[in-house]
Symmetry: C2
Subunit: 421 residues, 2 copies
Amino acid sequence: MPVHSRRGETLSHSPIRVLMPYARAAKAAGTHVYHLNIGQPDIPTPPEALDAIRKNAETIIPYGPSEGLPTLREKVAQYYEKFAGSISPNDVFVTTGASEAILFALFSCCDEFDEVIIPEPFYANYLGFGHTSSIRIVPIPSSIETEFQLPGVEKFEELITPTTKAIFLCNPGNPTGCLYSKEELAQLMKLVIKYDLFLIVDEVYREFCYDEKFTSVLSFPDTHEHVIVIDSISKVFSSCGARVGFLVTRNKAIQKVVEKYAQLRLCPPYYGQKLAEVCYDYAEDYIRDAKAEYTKRRTILYESLKQIEGVKCYLPKAAFYNMTQLPVTDANDFCKWLLTDFTHHGSTVMLAPGSGFYLHKAYGLNQVRIAYILNEHDLRESVECLKIALDRYNNRGKEGILNHYVTEAPVKRVLAPSNDM
Amino acid sequence: MPVHSRRGETLSHSPIRVLMPYARAAKAAGTHVYHLNIGQPDIPTPPEALDAIRKNAETIIPYGPSEGLPTLREKVAQYYEKFAGSISPNDVFVTTGASEAILFALFSCCDEFDEVIIPEPFYANYLGFGHTSSIRIVPIPSSIETEFQLPGVEKFEELITPTTKAIFLCNPGNPTGCLYSKEELAQLMKLVIKYDLFLIVDEVYREFCYDEKFTSVLSFPDTHEHVIVIDSISKVFSSCGARVGFLVTRNKAIQKVVEKYAQLRLCPPYYGQKLAEVCYDYAEDYIRDAKAEYTKRRTILYESLKQIEGVKCYLPKAAFYNMTQLPVTDANDFCKWLLTDFTHHGSTVMLAPGSGFYLHKAYGLNQVRIAYILNEHDLRESVECLKIALDRYNNRGKEGILNHYVTEAPVKRVLAPSNDM
């Protein structure tokens, strides 16, 4: 029997999706699972965009241009002007989600074994994209103590070697909800110019900044050759399944290379692009409302988490994630236990274990990423559920636990499925 | 200024799309371009599938399962039974076009520098997929003299080394329209078992076999661990822009690896999958009609090409391509000239130069790939156009050419744009 590749063997599972089989089993056993583990918004997709798809009169769905539909590139370029200055439609490549844009950027900028510096914790799939493109990710730790703010520029400089090719950021940050300031980014800009590096920034959460103003790396003058921005309609327009993202750069040489990678896979999905076109027509009002909703949820999550003894958290500045420290020693085990051994009123919570967002094996072991993408009611219920779960998890094996809970939470119990303690 | 990657530099342009700028310029100058260069069918997408998209009532387009929608995997598994025997929905991965399925297959089976034997000429983008996955493509020549039939199994065996990991076929063949018989495939099966290789077969054209019966490599018993099939709705359901393909394998170890690559890019496009689901409901009637249309076009193309002096061609057995030898020494130059220096009645023809389908630089220089994806009228017009172009191209620089043509083709001339001789 022929053996699969070593690289296929060593590719990591997504930590966000790795617990899915347990979640499926829990659901099959009748448990309701609150998904705080994935960045899948519950906010409706812009209805005008959905309607446009319903009214589509095309009789044939042909290949489109590899770079994306010109009408969409035009709209995206216009949308970018408010935070990036002048952008040409030629600077915008439509991709199959931000995932493809990241792969295009890594393949276009880096050769095998080139190093890319990324602050950790980082979006876990960066690891897989780095693995697929055979680059070396060099993590630079940030800490929950400082709410995961950008490490000082000197920390980046210390890590630069002759094979460093790029710095990669996620701003606003997934999984941390951090937001890098204009001053911090300006410092990094000097560094990438000094060492002739690319600066690749995933800005898919840029519209969800709650207190401070967002700064795009596209807005800095005289750095156009260095900057590549990754974008997507998935989060901002609640259209994750449409698979439409963007790679934006003014670097003409990179454009020529990206064009070749784009031609290779023929074109991005037609329907997603038609949906995206209309999303941008309604962007201002839609984003204002979505942001108001996330602002509310952010506070609810933060205020509720604060009430749980032993939990360390902070008010995230942006995106819709909170990297939270739990009073457990092994968050991986706890997250699995939530799905296999716990229910409260017939429900449980699914979280993304924090260690999956770090390259350093010793980091994030007691952290989880919580996405505040549920409505107010569900968010409150799920944090209540988490609170009870933590207490029960940390008192496993001790006597009288069940009685303790009946006393503490004298609510009417749904007849428990077999895995409810 | 930071420099793009070497691998980005060395990635080839698609030979099918590389002439596009010239085509755009020709169109901008008012010339009508007959596109015989791309496999973009002009047959309508199944109207019932388009209607299903119009009736879609979802209010949110969320991430789907990484492996594809269960309903679609179920339908595809059922569809496969007629030519592959029993296939489980778990054996079917939905991908973003066949392009992604090919990348998943190469990354899952092969490590960097592993060798994959492919008969040439082959679909040009295989070169790019091989480049992206850092494998080594080992071409095995087939010839127009034998209508590009599968090279003898001994030719494959000669090329096998310790680093050979797979044999890759396109059956039915793009760009050749060849069809491999059950006996030929059985010989190859023995070889992949003997040397413990994977057999990856792109079967996207399987429904368009005009004279003989198609044999899927999935239909052979006792070879399940070796076989990976690539598929797509693009050609069979005229839905190239939907970006839905499939990777089908019964090899459980490969499934586990493919699942990780699938998770990495989150999910295939939602709308394309919903379209595909309905396509399979109407497959039988739709495919019968489409095949009848291509059968007619195949004959028209073949009969018309035969009339042109110096052209060598054959009646292709399958798909909708014909690899044709022209009476020119440099088909690349001729194909470009068609777009930059020729029109006939305000029209010209776009062809895919044959050399782009060969890895050996010396092969295919006087060949072109012709796709018979135009309706009868346009197909006849375009071959007429080609005939006149060949004559004019081969008589460039000789006196009296224009008079010659006026005499030979005394048709009413449209006022010629400036690039019409």
